[in-house]
């Protein structure tokens, strides 16, 4: 499904199904792979503007935010990927802020997984456009500055976004 969701005609097809509701249900699966893939699917669906709106309206942000502290690295990567995409919309930024998950997001800057750190930097950039969140994210400026220097060699993309 994840691959199909990236197809050009997929957003229109998805709109007329119960896909989002069912994927939201699988975000709470006891099986880590199912949680990860459900989040990856939501990230793929929300790649375009129709998908973003639909995914936000379907209530995907709260369960995705719960997954930010998941014990499985790949699940955290998938949830930050989806949230980074959804937070490009104002409603997404506001919801993430209101859910009081900014500390969890800041902690993910220290995640061992490169892709999670990259997704987190993008997520902070997006949510930080919401003024109250911007204030909170000022706390992580030293860490971002450190990342710019530290990751320049190994993970230039992370360093670039952190800058």
């Amino acid at each position: 499904m994840k691959v199909l969701n990236e197809g050009e005609q997929a957003p229109v097809v998805i709109q007329n199904t119960e896909a989002l509701k069912r994927l939201n249900g699988h975000l709470k699966s006891p099986h880590f792979k199912i949680r990860e893939l459900a989040a990856m699917n939501l990230g793929s669906i929300s790649y375009n503007s129709i998908g973003k709106e639909e995914t936000i309206n379907a209530g995907s942000i709260p369960p995705l935010c719960e997954m930010l502290t998941d014990g499985v690295s790949d699940v955290r990567t998938a949830s930050t990927r989806a949230l980074a995409s959804l937070s490009q919309y104002k409603e997404g930024k506001v919801q993430i802020y209101d859910l009081d998950k900014l500390n969890e997001i800041i902690n993910l800057l220290y995640d061992k997984n490169d892709q999670t750190r990259l997704n987190t930097v993008q997520l902070i950039c997006n949510v930080g456009e919401y003024p109250p969140a911007k204030e909170k994210f000022k706390e992580c400026l030293p860490k971002l500055t450190e990342m710019v220097g530290k990751e320049k060699e190994d993970q230039p993309l992370v360093a670039k976004y952190a800058q």
Partner: protein, 146 residues
């Protein structure tokens, strides 16, 4: 494959699966025979072993460019339910877990390329998969669906 002896047909299918490990044999069979038609016809057999072996061979067919093209072209030509891809889709409802898994694996291979993705979407497979998100109880199959 035209025999009515299931044991004989099972042996033929085992051999086909062994031969299909070699790309040249697989491509030659696809070009020079009706093997794809015969394999897909086996999906309607009552014998679980025959259906499983036939669906396993289809995974290998879908793993090659010529095989994917044949599977998709057959769908595009008339768009009717007698085509190959809809028949693979019907295996999503099979009672046997291994056969369902083979069907999803074959579909994943077809979807590895843009033309395959577009064809599958046109075949209205997304709504079927969305339904399977609740109907399918086996976690390993659910992972294949996702």
């Amino acid at each position: 494959m035209a025999s009515e002896d299931n044991l004989l047909r099972t042996k033929v299918l085992i051999e086909i699966n062994e031969d299909f490990h070699q790309g040249d044999k697989l491509n030659f069979a696809l070009i020079s025979s009706d093997i794809l038609y015969e394999l897909v016809r086996c999906f309607e057999e009552e014998d679980n072993v025959i259906r499983e072996l036939a669906s396993r061979a289809i995974i290998k067919v879908a793993g090659t460019e010529s095989g994917r093209t044949k599977l998709i072209e057959a769908t595009d030509e008339d768009g009717s339910e007698t085509d190959y891809t809809p028949k693979i889709r019907k295996l999503f409802d099979d009672n046997e877990v291994d056969i369902r898994a083979n069907a999803y694996k074959a579909m994943c291979s077809v979807a590895e390329f843009t033309f395959g993705i577009d064809s599958i979407i046109q075949m209205h497979i997304i709504p079927v998969l969305v339904d399977k998100l609740v109907d399918e109880k086996n976690e390993e199959i659910l992972i294949l669906i996702l």
